[in-house]
Every structure is written in structure tokens, then in C-alpha cells.
């Protein structure tokens, strides 16, 4: 709809004008920030000297690739975004950006990010970046998201791959320690997003997205969150024995893992009437400001995010400070 048509339809002249910030919003900057953070950690954990400018270019490519895939996701999902409170103000469902424009932006950024990554670093990193983008758009967005409650379990691989791309950009290899970082994010993804869906599932129901609480029920989802976290906590400690993490990382992974399991156990012990009051007293609902009944799920959602951030921050700090890993790796030939 152009401006003249909008005015004719009774809309405010400025209501559907795309601003520069709308195109930034298409790239999902908040998601992008975690992708960048984990990619930088992977790049530095490779322990391979890389020209700082090429390292910057690699991280920029991962950032742009994440943004491009987010724009493609928003172009395709505009119909379901329009009926969910959390997403209905996004530029495409709000009518400020046409889906075709979002698609063009996403495709352009995706292709450029992969091409520049190949030129700046190596084609293994570029191939992994292309796979990550394709997996997020084709496998998660187009195929799994609307069809199965396992959508974020399988689709979570796309969000887990950035540290591997960063590692490959620096070293040209993809060793098991890099895949271990992928595994940590992969196992972390379902409990994190299921905790969110416990108190936002009404939105998902309206949009027809088969999130786990809608398909299997809240109680089953809570127990599955606990099961995943019981795997995640020891997995989070694994880098200590594979020669990746040091004392700081061991402390963060131990305390964080215990804290996460405690919160998830409290959530699993919730009664059947919990998580059904997502709206705060003032009638507003956000990711973090929720009613009393949804606080246990909100706490797991927030703490799991902090836990993942702390794990990667610990690795990053150890690498930047030159702190040695606790062990050289129990199986050095497997975890070089």
C-alpha cells in the first residue's frame, strides 16, 4: 500500500511509512546479538591467529547472515506474526514493509554475507554460514515451524551453529570442540523456548503454531524442560574435560547448571493452574513482565538466557585473558 492509498483508506499519513529503523528491525537485532556473541567466542576459541580485520569481517558476515535469514523469516511469517501480541508490531505485519521487500532484503544480505565470508576467510566457513541460513529459512521457517511441536528442537540447530562458523572462519577446520559448543546451544534451545511458550502459548494457539504446551500439554512440557536441562547441565561442563574451559568456566558451568536445574525443578513441580496468568497486573504483557502465575516459567526463560551468556562469556574472558584450560583434553587426538 503506498501513501496515497493509505490516506484514501483512512490511515494516518505517517502510519505505514517505512522508516530506516523498520529495516533494522527486520534483522532481529536482539537475536543477532546472541549470534554475534557466540560466533566471536567460537572464533577466539579456535586459538588460530587471524588478521583482526578479517576476524571483524567474519563476524560481520555472520551478523549480516543472521539478519538476512531473520528478514526472510519475517517475510514468510507475517501472517502468524500479525495475530501474536509479541510480534504484531513488527514492520511486515504492521504494514510498513511489504513482504516482498523483506524477502528481497533477506536474500540480498544472505547471498552477500556468504560470498564475502568466502572471500575474506575460507569457503568452509562460507559453506557452514550458507547451511545455517538455509536451515533456518527452509527447514525451520518453511517446513517445521507450523507442522510439529519438535519445531524448535530440530530448528534450533540453526541458532546453534554460529560458534562453529566463527571457529571455521579462524582456523579453516571444524573440530569436535567446536561441535561441542554447537551441542550446548542445541540442547539449551528447547527448554529456553518452551519456558517462554508456557506463558505465551495462547498467542501461538491463535497463530496455529503447534508449540509443545499446546500439543502435549503444560505438564508434559515442564517435564521435558527438566529432562533437557538434566542433559544440558553436565554437557555445559564437558568443555572443561575436552581442554576448552578453565577454572572460571568450570565455576560458571557448575553454579549455573545447578541454578538452572533448581529453577526447572521448581517449574516442573508447578500445579495445573500455574502458567495460566501471563498478563501482568497493569494489563501489559512482555517477555519478562508477567503475572504471578507465569513467574516460574518466566524465571526459567530469563535464567537460561543468562546461563548460556555466562558460559560463553567465561570462555571468552579466559581466551582474552590468556588463562589456560583446566585439562589439555582427556582425548587430545579427538579434541585437539
Amino acid at each position: 500500500m503506498n501513501t496515497t492509498e493509505a490516506i484514501a483508506a483512512g490511515a494516518s499519513p505517517a502510519a505505514d511509512v517505512a522508516r530506516a529503523s523498520d529495516y533494522i528491525a527486520l534483522l532481529k537485532p536482539r537475536v543477532m546479538s546472541l549470534v554475534v556473541f557466540t560466533a566471536i567466542t567460537g572464533l577466539l576459541c579456535a586459538r588460530t591467529p587471524i588478521d583482526p580485520w578479517l576476524g571483524f569481517a567474519a563476524i560481520l558476515c555472520i551478523t549480516i547472515g543472521a539478519g538476512g535469514s531473520a528478514a526472510l523469516n519475517m517475510a514468510y511469517d507475517s501472517d502468524i506474526d500479525a495475530v501474536m501480541r509479541r510480534t504484531k508490531r513488527r514492520p511486515v505485519p504492521a504494514g510498513r514493509v511489504q513482504p516482498s521487500d523483506a524477502r528481497a532484503l533477506g536474500l540480498t544480505l544472505s547471498i552477500l554475507s556468504v560470498g564475502v565470508m568466502g572471500l575474506a576467510t575460507n569457503w568452509l566457513a562460507a559453506g557452514l554460514l550458507a547451511f545455517t541460513i538455509a536451515f533456518y529459512v527452509l527447514v525451520y521457517t518453511l517446513w517445521l515451524k507450523r507442522r510439529t511441536p519438535q519445531n524448535i528442537v530440530i530448528g534450533g540447530l540453526a541458532g546453534a551453529l554460529p560458534p562453529l562458523v566463527g571457529w571455521a572462519a579462524a582456523s579453516g577446520t571444524a573440530p569436535l570442540n567446536a561441535w561441542l559448543l554447537v551441542a550446548i546451544i542445541f540442547v539449551w534451545t528447547p527448554p529456553h523456548f518452551w519456558a517462554l511458550s508456557l506463558y505465551t502459548c495462547e498467542d501461538y494457539a491463535a497463530a496455529g503454531v503447534p508449540m509443545m504446551p499446546l500439543v502435549r500439554g503444560r505438564a508434559s512440557t515442564r517435564w521435558q524442560i527438566l529432562a533437557y536441562c538434566l542433559v544440558l547441565a553436565p554437557l555445559g561442563l564437558a568443555p572443561v574435560i575436552t581442554g576448552l574451559g578453565g577454572v572460571l568456566y568450570a565455576a560458571v558451568a557448575s553454579l549455573g547448571g545447578l541454578g538452572l536445574i533448581a529453577l526447572v525443578a521448581r517449574l516442573a513441580a508447578s500445579g495445573p493452574r500455574d502458567d495460566v496468568e501471563p498478563v501482568a497486573a497493569d494489563g501489559r504483557t512482555t517477555l519478562y513482565k508477567v503475572g504471578k502465575g507465569a513467574r516460574r516459567a518466566r524465571d526459567v526463560f530469563a535464567f537460561s538466557l543468562a546461563y548460556l551468556f555466562a558460559l560463553f562469556a567465561a570462555l571468552l574472558i579466559e581466551r582474552l585473558a590468556g588463562l589456560a584450560p583446566l585439562s589439555p583434553g582427556l582425548i587430545p587426538q579427538v579434541f585437539p
Binding site: 511509512v17 517505512a18 530506516a20 529495516y23 578479517l54 569481517a57 564475502v116 572471500l119
Partner: protein, 49 residues
């Protein structure tokens, strides 16, 4: 009589901001390719025989 197709002040301002963002992105892209090229040539020993 005003032209119904005339761009409003808000629309013109938004268009200018979008153009500036696009110009910045294009300049950034050119600079990035230039820097990558210079570094890659440097790593390969330059253009001298």
C-alpha cells in the same frame, strides 16, 4: 488545490532516512571489500614479483 499525490513531510523524512541508511550500507560494503582485498594481497606477498 493541493496535489493528492504529494509526499507528506513524514514520508519525505522517512525516505531520506532510508536513503541515508542504504548509502551508508553501500559505502560500508565497498570499504569492506577494499580492506579485505588489501589484506589478502598483503598476505600473498603483495603485487611485487
Amino acid at each position: 488545490m493541493s496535489d493528492p499525490n504529494q509526499e507528506s513531510e513524514a514520508a519525505a523524512k522517512a525516505r531520506r532516512a532510508r536513503n541515508l541508511l542504504l548509502a551508508g550500507a553501500l559505502i560500508g560494503f565497498v570499504v569492506l571489500i577494499f580492506v579485505i582485498t588489501v589484506i589478502k594481497i598483503g598476505h600473498n606477498g603483495g603485487l611485487t614479483p
